[in-house]
Point group: C2
Chain length 377, copies 2
Amino acid sequence: MTARLAGFLADTRFERPTLVMDLNAVADRYRLLADALGSAKIHYAVKANPAPALLARLAKAGSNFDVASRGEIEQCLALGIPACRLSFGNTIKRRADIEFAYAAGVPLFAFDSPAELKKLADAAPDASVYCRVLVDGTGSEWPLGKKFGCADGLAEELLVQAAELGFKRPGISFHVGSQQTDLNAWDRCFARIRALIDRLAARGVDIGLVNLGGGFPATLIRSAKLDPKSYAETVRQLANRHFGDLDVALIAEPGRGLVADAGCIAAEVVLVSEKGDGDPRRWVFLDIGKFSGLAETMDEAIRYRFETPDNTGPMGPVVLAGPSCDSADVLYEKTEYGLPMTLQEGDRIWILSTGAYTTTYSSVGFNGFPPLDTICI
Amino acid sequence: MTARLAGFLADTRFERPTLVMDLNAVADRYRLLADALGSAKIHYAVKANPAPALLARLAKAGSNFDVASRGEIEQCLALGIPACRLSFGNTIKRRADIEFAYAAGVPLFAFDSPAELKKLADAAPDASVYCRVLVDGTGSEWPLGKKFGCADGLAEELLVQAAELGFKRPGISFHVGSQQTDLNAWDRCFARIRALIDRLAARGVDIGLVNLGGGFPATLIRSAKLDPKSYAETVRQLANRHFGDLDVALIAEPGRGLVADAGCIAAEVVLVSEKGDGDPRRWVFLDIGKFSGLAETMDEAIRYRFETPDNTGPMGPVVLAGPSCDSADVLYEKTEYGLPMTLQEGDRIWILSTGAYTTTYSSVGFNGFPPLDTICI
């Protein structure tokens, strides 16, 4: 946590759970990643945190943007971000939204299926396109499953088709898995992508773009010792080793790795209780839960760090849960967490590195609780 | 689905995913449950669906309301629902919210821990209170885990304390598990609660209220053959068998069982694709997903029924997923679902019995997609 963020948190009284974003920290991390990644252009994944002031700051810093929907495109355009700096990275797009984006001047579109490629050929005929390849996400904290991307063989056929449809120098994308702590995963992916590029070259298809996706980790419990700079530099070195002899443009799409560490949620303890069921752990209920910002605690995949500014002294084991009348609104029950034994109703609790994938996951008002508030400093 | 709902869906063109609620069907179900449950007062669980027109219709029909937060209390009061018809059923309440509710005239409050009982004694000294007991939820589709309630032994001690603190004729509540399809679960719970009441009577504590909670099922895949009327009548008979000789008031808190079947989500197919990975199933991507209304597909616990008005003919296996760039936004991957082989981009799809636990779970705008819209007819 930056000193600026810590100072603001200490000096402010929050009426409800609030994410505080230090935009200087975002700009610093942008420069760090941009320098470390070298020639790769950064397309910030807007879905990670679309706070207008944050987008404006990144635009000023020189960032491009990866957008997931027409709504995100409209938001970027409304902020004065030129359409030429956007890429429409969702492989699942309504035809009308492709038409909208193409007419607005968005130059780059993703696909991973014959039907989506056909839509692009119909609705965005002179765009640049790239095919997303399925990778397994081993080593990541939030593996991406099979929803996005297609198998290498299908990708090869689709890229041949793309070339036949007139798309010039199509690209390839993949994603190593969100919050990927194993740098070898990048190496393995790059080798596969290079083999695919070579097979396509042999069939006369010239690949013009490699989109490295995201996966750059934020400082969560498992990744607390990773250094963002050396991590990104290693990714660059690996990319250089596999693609350095080719004439391909590189893109990276950090979301979490760019903004998560710049944010901290100020929350409050509502109740500390025990169940009388023989489990020695206290249940600590916060005023924020799974449906008001902490959706990524699903299956306890993403493990945040906590600080308790009002409490010191001996720690004891806890279960952490949210305030709603929903049984699924438990944050950490299997993961071992410890918090001070003196913790009680009304005490403040900081949830660190929560600048990504929190605010927009908030429900509109589940159980009558308002969505997570954001303050940009 | 009622003929009225089917007619409206067929005649309407939806621009985005929309929940259509048939308020006549809600009122009909209210009367059915109220008749079947006899003397038990119905407190509709507002969190299931707080659409203002729906709350107003239920208030007109005579319903009371179970609220989870200050926000829900304010909403009910704004609609002209008298505070005396509300119960504050969340066992995790901010002290300031208890004070607010008590001052507004809310007469009934829940607790399940020493700290919460203490808060109530401080902030709502002349209220009626009830203690929630932990039950295991076996047989339910959405078991409630250990978040709410305490073990019987602790509940007994807390109710003795409540009486000592001056709370007159305190109550006991429990919840058999949401979407509970096994009527024996009620019988087992009732027997435990009766034993607890008898132990408390022996200690001089007179229990004045038994809150049966919710659990009344909607018509989902596993419960498609359950009849709501005979289900509720059986609950009444069981309650009568266990509590009929006592002078206790009864409350029931149906949420899903009261409103889910009156609603249907109108959605659309965005993409049908295959992965080329040897899995013969098609991936069907809808314009609604886990973060825009279908949160209860988490772990594939709640299994909705689908209808495809634009397609007939042979069916084939599918994976169902939402439109966002989030890997977790897969609706059904393990559960076997079949949809017509002719299904394609732009086709309509109806998601049945979705009148509960959908709209308010919607994220405020994850990935730039708007929250689920509601139309009450």
